[in-house]
Amino acid sequence: MTDTYKILVVDDEPDLEPLVLQRMRRQIRSKEYEFVFACNGVDALEKLNADPTIDMVLSDINMPKMDGLTLLQQLPDVDPNLRAVIVSAYGDMDNIRTAMNRGAFDFVTKPIDFDDLKITIARTLEHLAEWREALSSRDQLVALQNELSIASQLQQSILPRIPPVTEGCEVSANMEPARNVGGDFYDYFKLDDYIGLVVADVSDKGIPASMFMMSSRTALKGAAIGVREPEQVLTEVNNQLQQDNPTFMFVTLIYALFSPDSGTLTYSIAGHDPPLLVSADGSVTELPLTKGVALGIAPDVVYTQETVTLDPGDTVVLFTDGVTEAMNTDNQQFGMSRLTEVFDGNPPESATTANEAVFEHVRKFAGDAPQSDDITCLTLRRP
């Protein structure tokens, strides 16, 4: 044992000090225990306040100035992690019960049987060591949770909040994170006369997923600035992400480029659910899937793109599987059919109302069921 435990013995009988020192000499010599002494409760509190390294208190009950039971009440104020053992007269159940109610860990009876006392002290200190270890793992857990919540805040903070204001284009987006740090993100940015739009979902959760999400987002934005065609953007991002990916993480996403002037939307899909098109007349269709694979898993994947033209009043809904796989309390999934029903015969008045409608329906459907995945939806409307 490397650490010496320090034990404060509180008794008004002066005979006890030499007796303890004599009977515990082996433990003292091996630096297992160190003893300090006080002659009453007041004296004990002074010594405890002066020396925060005391681990344990062994106290008599009947003492002048301040008795042992009163001292017990004061101990948590000095150090809530102190452990106390009370020395009482044999058969004095009333005082023993009071002492236990006031937080004493254990008791020994007079006349002190030193073999019993040694066992009691050892047991008390063992408990104290376990308690301290539990406290430190709790501290570590709290620290880890803090880091997770920082990661979650980072994830939220990279999401753009103010959609680009451009005539001929309305954009609204929202991400509702699950309790764990997840890997969903959305993005929108202006590229000359176009608006770039992204909805993405990184496999798995936790800090590694959120880091992968950050690098995916940066890679995509970087590629989008340099390359015009969405299919080329995805090819380039895939090559970057799959080069060094020992964890087999991947990201599914849609990257779309919208021209507010002409109303054309060109998109390329990397292993993601295709978007929905809500026409101005309230009919809902799934846009065609393009050729491609989730980003980051295989080299030299060929991505293709599709172009559709939005008429005024048309809305496109991009989403992650957090929407369609949201569960209710009966373990049913929200599904594509319910998502379609949100808009069927009910074309949205704006990108914002379209977005709110999706979240409102999912929330209502899920009820009290816990949210297990991030929910992300981005809506684009041609006014």
Partner: protein, 109 residues
């Protein structure tokens, strides 16, 4: 998730059923790897009883596929339900991992 497996010669057929998502994906990987023998040359994963697979589950299949590929062993999946088949088709995993309609097709493939 529930598993069973059947070995004949150097071919191992694993049946997996239930759901795979983020909560049990690591158990899925462990159970899967626990069933492989060094002598197995061809591993066929029959997912006929699988109701649902999330992206975390796909990641496990990807890890298994790439590990086996490194050892020059063949890995394929088969008998996908419609819902699971959609996940494979949309994610593009059907282009990365060999998918067959049935165990017999997988054995011949």
């Amino acid at each position: 998730m529930e598993f069973s497996h059947d070995r004949s010669g150097d071919t191992l057929v694993v049946n997996a059923s239930g759901r795979v998502d983020g909560s049990n994906a690591s158990d899925f990987l462990e159970s899967l790897q626990g069933m492989f023998d060094p002598g197995d040359q061809r591993i066929i994963l029959d997912l006929g009883g699988l109701e649902y697979i999330s992206s975390a589950g796909l990641r496990v299949l990807l890890m298994a596929a790439q590990n086996l590929d490194k050892q020059n062993k063949s890995f394929s999946i088969c008998s996908l339900t419609e819902a699971v088949g959609d996940v494979f088709r949309i994610s593009g995993f059907d282009q990365i991992i060999n998918v067959f309609p049935s165990v017999d097709d997988a054995k011949q493939g």
